[in-house]
Symmetry: C2
Subunit: 549 residues, 2 copies
């Protein structure tokens, strides 16, 4: 049984889910679904790995070893060093690897790539600790986002790539009747890979945001260079190690994927991105750098910064809504690209089934819900994790000086396990709708603006204006009025932003489920890519049809 046959059932399930947009994951998100000793082993592995060279890659000819990652939980360097390579050697290796990989048939590529996901799954716990101590995500998010959820997104890209590259027959006999005779032409149809890809990672989701582009590049027959953020190399390095192992075991050029670590002092991202051999660039990060990437004369897939909003109009019960908002704002200290930053509320308050709750009561309720969550020692530390960079920490601490009215200031809470963790709980600032200079830009981190508006129509109008200008990954809305719901959906959808309505309980606007929710639409200023619509793979290859008589 070859690897394609081995994984064909999983592939078919993935394609079915992708088309039906129903719930699907082959990788359990609950750590308890895995071996009992897996966590303990990973902890020991992490201790041993720290302060050592990362030697797992099958890449040779390094110029130096370097590493500068700092654990947001420990606030000390983790001491892992990675081999650095010249841009020239990375490009040469990729060009060579492209030759054989592009000629490997789609079924073989599919089998190999799903096999790599199985192998990555054996490292989920190692990856969780590597993610925690680079990104500051709490344990559960580190495990889920970098492990099963990332693998889901990778499988989604593989499935879409397989589906699109097999949608036309490899060979067909075309017959045209001319009355007295038939004209017969044999045709073949080939998806031809476009060329070497570069995936530029970010510091907060080093795996989740990297593997969609990586696997979309690979499934379409292209070699891929992964340039991680210098502050978050460790997690993706493990992924690359496992991919290279599978490639080597199956007789493939391991340079089909290469890790291109660099340092903050000597960045190589632009050299790689501008190299003529690089035909496509995937990027996650700041709008400024993302705009630069989009300006390159090549194929680009970007996820930049947006400003996510919520519109709070009317609810059945207020408390579950406040709790839900508090969690969305606090989760990973607002460092998710899907975290809400602005909540638009009418000055007239929020209607519930029983009563009209005044605007001030709602504002205070949000603050109270956040405080209740973060001050709960069983929930707080595991929800907020740690702040990834000093800059985000500083921005959060100083947010009170931005203007507006301070409703709730940031503070520290105790994390029993990591007493030195870089922690700042959400800051809540009330602003008038006229104070656009404050809330109409991304303030990355646990910073929440409550915008006081004249009405729900006013909220929607301000919200739409904002996303047209700045883009957004998501939008939350609470309304019990069907007409209002439809209006909000239509208006925001026109701006190519999806809306999540009336989320409570275990549903959070931050979460985008693979195989069902598109992550980004690709249609608004927050980015031009979408995980995973068909374009995310079809742009990476070209259909070419030969004809034979």
């Amino acid at each position: 049984m070859n690897l394609f046959e081995k994984h064909q059932a999983a592939l078919n399930s993935a394609i079915t889910a992708l088309s039906a947009r129903t719930y699907f994951t082959p990788y359990p998100e609950n750590p308890r679904a895995y071996a009992e000793d897996a966590d303990a082993k990973a902890k020991a592995w992490m201790s041993a790995a720290m302060n050592n060279d990362f030697t797992g890659l099958k890449q040779t000819g390094e110029l130096a070893w370097s590493g500068e990652e700092v654990s947001p939980f420990l606030q000390i360097g983790i001491g892992v060093k990675y081999p650095l390579f010249s841009v020239e050697s990375l490009i040469n290796n990729a060009n060579n690897a492209q030759k054989s990989w592009s000629k490997t048939d789609v079924n073989t590529r599919t089998g190999i790539l799903i096999e790599t996901l199985e192998r990555i799954a054996t490292r989920f716990f190692d990856i969780a600790y590597a993610t925690m101590h680079t990104t500051g995500q709490a344990y559960m998010m580190s495990f889920q986002a970098s492990g099963p959820h990332a693998n889901d997104r990778a499988l989604e890209a593989i499935a879409m790539g397989y589906q699109e590259q097999t949608r036309f027959p490899e060979k067909v006999e075309w017959v045209k009747n001319f009355g007295k005779f038939d004209l017969k032409i044999n045709k073949d149809f080939k998806p031809v890979a476009k060329g070497v890809g570069l995936v530029i990672g970010c510091s907060t989701f080093p795996i989740w945001n990297t593997v969609p582009g990586l696997y979309a590049t690979l499934i379409t027959g292209n070699a891929c260079i992964v340039k991680p953020h210098p502050k978050a190399i460790f997690p993706i390095a493990i992924v690359m190690e496992e991919i290279q192992k599978v490639l080597a075991e199956n007789g493939f050029d391991t340079n089909i994927v290469q890790l291109a670590a660099d340092s903050s002092n000597s960045p190589i991202t632009k050299q790689l991105a501008e190299n003529a051999a690089v035909k496509m660039v995937d990027f996650t990060g700041s709008s400024e750098f993302g705009n630069y990437v989009e300006s390159l004369p090549k194929l680009t897939f970007t996820e930049k910064a947006g400003v996510n909003s919520m519109i709070l109009d009317s609810v059945n019960e207020l408390q579950p809504v406040l709790a839900n908002i508090a969690f969305s704002v606090s989760l990973y200290s607002g460092q998710m690209c899907t975290a809400p930053q602005n909540i638009f509320i009418s000055k007239n308050g929020v209607q519930t089934i029983n009563v009209l709750v005044s605007y001030d009561e709602v504002v205070n309720g949000i603050a109270a819900a956040i405080t209740g969550l973060v001050d709960n020692p069983k929930a707080g530390p595991g929800t907020i994790g740690a702040i990834q960079t000093e800059a985000t920490y500083k921005r959060t601490i100083e947010a009170k000086n931005l203007g507006g009215k301070l409703i709730l200031d940031a503070k520290s809470i105790k994390n029993e396990e990591f007493v030195d963790a870089r922690i700042a709980t959400p800051v809540v600032i009330e602003v008038d709708k006229s104070q656009k200079d404050i809330y109409n830009r991304e303030c990355f981190g646990p910073i929440l603006f409550i915008v006081k508006t004249d009405s729900v129509e006013d909220s929607l109008s301000l919200c739409k204006e904002l996303v047209l200008e700045k883009g957004a990954l998501t939008c939350g809305a609470y309304t019990t009025n069907e007409a209002t719901k439809e209006t909000i959906a239509n208006e925001m959808n026109e701006a190519f932003v999806p809306v999540s309505f009336n989320f409570t309980g275990a549903g959070f606007i931050n979460s985008h489920a693979a195989f069902s929710d598109f992550h980004l639409t690709g249609g608004n200023p927050a980015g031009n890519a979408s995980f995973t619509n068909s374009e995310f793979v079809t742009k990476r290859f070209v259909w070419v049809g030969n004809r034979f008589m």
Copy 2:
């Protein structure tokens, strides 16, 4: 029965053919398949239409009436005048029309658009005469290319657009089990139209090259402005008239499609293309203008100039091959975007089953085959048609001065029906492979270069170098050697150019069949679009998914 139900069977057949890439057309290409008096009626209609205003459009508020088309067969102006509109009014109308059309469901749009094709089919003979007397295509090509073949391409775009916009469910209940409870989220998935499209037509195929972009824009919910070439407005004006009629009859805003005629003296193309309301531009024409279009900060679909080549290595019998090449070169006087310009032949000659034919014999054989075709009064005039512009005529007549060795000069032949036709038969020039300044650029018109090379490997190498630099829409190759065939296919496909092997008889490399052959790959410098891959429609809308709890 609504229009979607009326046309559902045709739609399903089209989607099936599109997926299987098999022969399909609902519109017979043989004029005899239509009413016996259709041609006579169209001739009379044409006589009446000439020297008159074109009043068929449902567009109002024109600034002036203007027309400058010259019949290449008569070499006199046809005297048809079209209403000219301000850019401002065209944009305003399109923006208004976009609002309702984008909210019309996909099924309704599909029904309406296929209905327009049925109505256009009732005008195939009028369109044929309008095409002849603007483009210079002979009658049969005018009928087929502007009529049934264009309708096929339009239906292909509709079918692909329907398929892609219905590939995900409109609504789904997503259920995630959390052990103790299920999280249920209702989701909807909507294809949201991107915005107003502009389609810029060319002078040689004013319908065939316009309707793919036009219908791809429309099926995805976007209003469309069609800016025809000022020298070839008449054919597409008839198409627009029929579309607007169907829209009006069904209660839609007729400005969903607008004809934006202009004049050579006061072109409005750039004003339209640069307008912020225009979100996508389809273009067919020169590389210079195409590169400008591609540089616009918006979605573009281009077909520019390429240089098509043939590689002549070995054949079973030489005569059928020479006849096939002669026809491909002569058809519509080499003014097809798929016409071959360069034939690469080894100095060692061409091996046939029986003998090795010397290089010189082959070269003379090509010239003799062309002369035999064009001098045959039954075949010549109907094959070559007329030269569309004076510039192309001049280029052809003066080609003998380009350098190289003149093998066959251009000349005139008698067209009994149109004694004043602008005619120039193919000129054949032999060049050395080193004379790249002569043959490595597009010489639009009936100009054929025979390039003397050292070997078939040399031919392939030169051919690949050329397409990497200049692009190509097609490539022909003749070889009886399987290994050579594979090498040529692989090398040219790597440059994203399809190859047609060993075409003889009724198979010509110039022809690209809808539902089967991709016209352009979108991967080489000849253009970034492909009729009709999935991207040709998916780029025109955005998937947006809302979630409801």
